[in-house]
């Protein structure tokens, strides 16, 4: 149990160093930030900025410095905002997390019951309908879904605001948009793992004992079918965060993703680096939680 935890923590550290190394190098290869910060400035001013920012030092030195600062949570000042980068990112984190969690909750609320029903009533009209929805959901790009939802609910029906983040109603469309992206796969997983367990001996035994069908499904079948669901949901959460980047732009949601997209356009290194770091951190933490859930759900792992 303890070794398991230690192994996970070590893996976490390795992943984070890897992530910082990748962001650091990609950004430095892609261009000269100085000419972007001051496109029209005389060369002397640019040279001064280059020295001040340390862009003249060899890359390994720049990276070591960067890594040491990262450990202290210091990503430097945003070139654009002229303020420390990490707080700017963290300030927007709750928005992105709220959006992703709502979308995940909606996905699960749809995928679990639908998955169970379609598994039990295989080849029914409902099953076919669900397959169609899965097909549509996976084929539609997030930004397109978002704009279509805006046109339908905000422009045509006028029941929801187009964009913004000033009321709870504003949360609805982005959540649905993100959920259309994550629900189909989860639904598929619930359905197929339910199909796998539903005809196993122990389920039949439970039925034979005269336990109610509802109880058999929820207490016996679902718990065992939940393992793959947990894995996939964990992975999906990471995808939701990246999906949130697009969703935030379409719906003008003041989250982390939008901040990072803007920063990439402006070659605002510190924000991009802090942002990617925080994203990676969230994903690692989610995966860690998934591992813990596994241990809870599957006693075999605890024993091993």
């Amino acid at each position: 149990m303890l070794t398991l935890l230690i192994r996970r923590v070590v893996r976490l550290a390795v992943v984070l160093v890897g992530v910082t190394l990748i962001t650091f190098s990609i950004l430095h290869v892609s261009g000269d930030p100085v000419s972007l910060i001051m496109p029209e400035a005389p060369e002397a001013d640019r040279a001064a900025l280059r020295v001040a920012m340390g862009f003249n030092d060899p890359l390994p030195l720049q990276f070591t410095r960067f890594l040491a600062n990262t450990v202290r949570g210091n990503f430097g000042n945003s070139f654009f905002h002229r303020a420390p980068a990490l707080p700017l990112v963290l300030e927007r984190m709750p928005t992105t997390l709220l959006l992703s969690i709502c979308a995940m909750a909606l996905s699960l609320a749809l995928a679990i019951p639908l998955g169970i029903i379609t598994a039990i009533r295989r080849a029914s009209l409902l099953d076919w309908g669900a397959t169609l929805i899965v097909f549509l959901g996976t084929s539609m790009p997030v930004f397109w879904t978002g704009i279509m939802l805006i046109l339908l609910f905000a422009v045509q029906l006028r029941v929801l605001p187009v964009s913004g983040w000033e009321s709870w109603a504003a949360l609805v469309l982005p959540t649905i948009t993100l959920a259309t992206f994550s629900t189909p796969l989860l639904l598929r997983i619930v359905r197929s793992s339910m199909l796998e367990v539903i005809n196993l001996d122990y389920v039949r035994t439970a039925r034979a004992k005269g336990v109610s069908e509802w109880f058999v499904i929820c207490r016996h079948a679902l718990i065992n079918a939940a393992l793959p669901l947990v894995t996939v949901a964990g992975l999906q959460f990471g995808l939701l965060l990246t999906g949130a980047i697009i969703t935030e732009t379409v719906f003008a949601v003041p989250g982390m993703g939008r901040l990072i997209v803007g920063a990439i356009r402006q070659l605002d290194f510190p924000i991009v680096q802090a942002g990617v770091f925080v994203f990676a951190m969230i994903i690692v933490v989610v995966n860690f939680t998934v591992d813990l859930l596994y241990i809870y759900l599957n006693p075999q792992i605890r024993v091993r």
Binding site: L36, P39, E43, A109, A154, V159, A252
Partner: protein
């Protein structure tokens, strides 16, 4: 069916939510911007989206009316005392939003904080020619420049006057985020980054109260979303409506389009250091190859004006006697043969001008048709500049872009960055090699004798039309979509001077 209860409940809840927010109060004007500037401090950024907010909160010494003529603002009158000294009379009784009266000391302080290099204002370059600002008496200020500076008045149109005492009390940081104070028509209420900036009418503004009590600038990055907002009344005004959206607005019941030529000129900069554009006939051929009229009609919904050079009608120094290159494919082929390419030539052109990608591709196709076989290369806006300019020699035959003149209505604002070869220059130092051009640009720049400058600019326009260091194209229009509840018109300087916006009676 019990198991349907939950989804049904969720659905009902979603559909029954109150139609929020779009029903706006009539005294509120909401503007969509793609983003917010990093600060409210009008001296500490140089972002268009920030300037548009700042001008409604702060006044500068001068203002420009809708005909783009200088108009008194904080300064009631001005005159040049010599080539390097200007006198400004300061308006009396102008109040800041905190109730304090504006004095010449505030004017001096405003300039000093940008000239002070430790403050690192990105606007320092605009006014670096200013050596000193002197308070002469209670209503007079002298501005002294280190050399003749013909662009001074242009630069003063956006140079907000800020309150000295207030900033010294709250500090630069707070002034830029939570307590900006100016003398403009609206005062600051609240700023939520990436969401909205809320302003409220300032009762004691010297021009009188503005028509709208509340002014809101929302940050909405996606154009399609802005369009949906304007259709539902969530936003009253949006900028940069693209040509493909215009038909939709022509018949729209709730919004209309206002469009006007602006100080932004499109051009294809040609790399004169290497073949084929080191030869003048090749550059002229490229100019004859472009059917500008068709591009404007078919790809820009008619919203563009052909230009003879990069100097355009709105700018000081424009010479209408210099005519645009006509479209003449035959002549282009002849000139190309004359340049030594009877069988044509292969080149690569670059662009990071994402919004005008179709135009870029059409231009490249037109060049290909006369034998300048062009491979178009599209780049992401960020790191692209380096690739165009700094890769010496190969594959940098030129690039397509536009120049906004930083809203300075003077030929210098486009000629110097595009064609002057001094090391501090922008495009010119990489691409342009026209003998004698640097000298003429310098000559026009170092005089405040306007008739003399005009003559030099005529000379320059004749010269570059002949030498063709670029493919000269057209000017762009600024196109706004505006709610029918609001009466307003687009301006040639791309400003949103919302003091002129009026509610339409209902």
């Amino acid at each position: 069916m019990k198991r349907w209860a939950l989804p049904a409940l969720v659905l009902t809840l979603v559909l029954s939510l109150p139609p929020s927010l779009h029903a706006q109060a009539k005294d509120t004007l909401t503007v969509a911007l793609v983003s917010h500037a990093p600060t409210m401090d009008p001296h500490m950024h140089f972002e268009r989206v920030g300037i548009l907010v700042n001008i409604n909160m702060f006044d500068s010494l001068l203002h420009r009316n809708t005909k783009l003529e200088f108009e008194p603002s904080i300064a009631t009158s001005w005159k040049a005392l010599s080539d390097t000294q200007w006198e400004f009379k300061i308006r009396k009784g102008v109040r800041f939003h905190n109730g304090e009266v504006l004095t010449p000391e505030d004017v001096k302080y405003s300039f000093d904080r940008v000239i002070d290099q430790t403050k690192k204002s990105p606007q320092y370059g605009n006014i670096r020619a200013i050596k000193e600002v002197k308070v002469v008496n209670a209503d007079t200020v002298h501005i002294i420049t280190d050399k003749p500076f013909p662009l001074l008045l242009e630069r003063l149109v956006f140079f907000p006057i800020v309150p000295k005492k207030h900033i010294e009390a709250v500090g630069d940081q707070a002034f830029g985020s939570t307590s900006p104070v100016g003398t403009g028509p609206w005062k600051f209420v609240e700023w939520k980054r990436d969401q909205y900036i809320k302003l409220e009418a300032f009762d004691q503004h010297w021009r009188g109260k503005p028509a709208f009590k509340h002014l809101v600038f929302r940050a909405i990055p996606e154009v399609a979303t802005q369009v949906a907002e304007i259709k539902t009344g969530g936003v009253d005004l949006m900028r940069n409506v693209s040509a493909d959206l215009l038909p939709e607005f022509k018949t729209h019941p709730q919004a209309y389009i206002s469009s006007t030529p602006i100080l932004r000129v499109h051009y294809m900069a040609l790399d004169m250091r290497s073949a084929p554009f080191d030869k003048r006939p090749a550059r002229q051929a490229a100019n004859y190859a472009i059917d500008k009229g068709t591009v404007i009609q078919k790809l820009m919904a008619g919203l563009g004006t052909q230009t003879a050079t990069v100097v355009q009608p709105l700018a000081f120094g424009f010479d209408p006697s210099v005519k645009p290159y006509p479209y003449d494919a035959k002549k282009a082929k002849e000139l190309l043969a004359q340049a030594g390419y009877p069988n044509g030539v292969d080149i690569t052109l670059h662009s990071a001008f994402v919004e005008f990608r179709p135009v870029f591709e059409a231009l490249c196709q037109m060049l290909t048709e006369v034998g300048i076989r062009t491979t178009p290369k599209m780049w992401d806006p960020g790191p692209a500049w380096n690739k165009f300019f700094q890769t010496e020699g190969k594959a940098t035959n030129g690039y397509y872009g536009s120049w906004g003149n930083y809203s300075v209505f003077d030929a210098d604002a486009v000629l110097h960055p595009l064609y002057h070869t001094e090391p501090g220059g922008w495009v010119g130092k990489w691409y342009t090699r026209v003998e004698g051009l640097d000298k003429l640009i310098d000559e026009a720049r170092s005089s405040v004798d306007q008739p003399k400058r005009k003559k030099v600019y005529s000379q320059i326009q004749t010269m570059i039309r002949e030498e063709a260091p670029s493919i000269f194209l057209f000017t762009q229009y600024d196109t706004l979509a505006i709610s029918k509840k609001v009466q307003y018109a687009a301006r040639g300087d791309e400003w949103l001077w919302l003091y002129d916006a009026k509610p339409v009676g209902r």
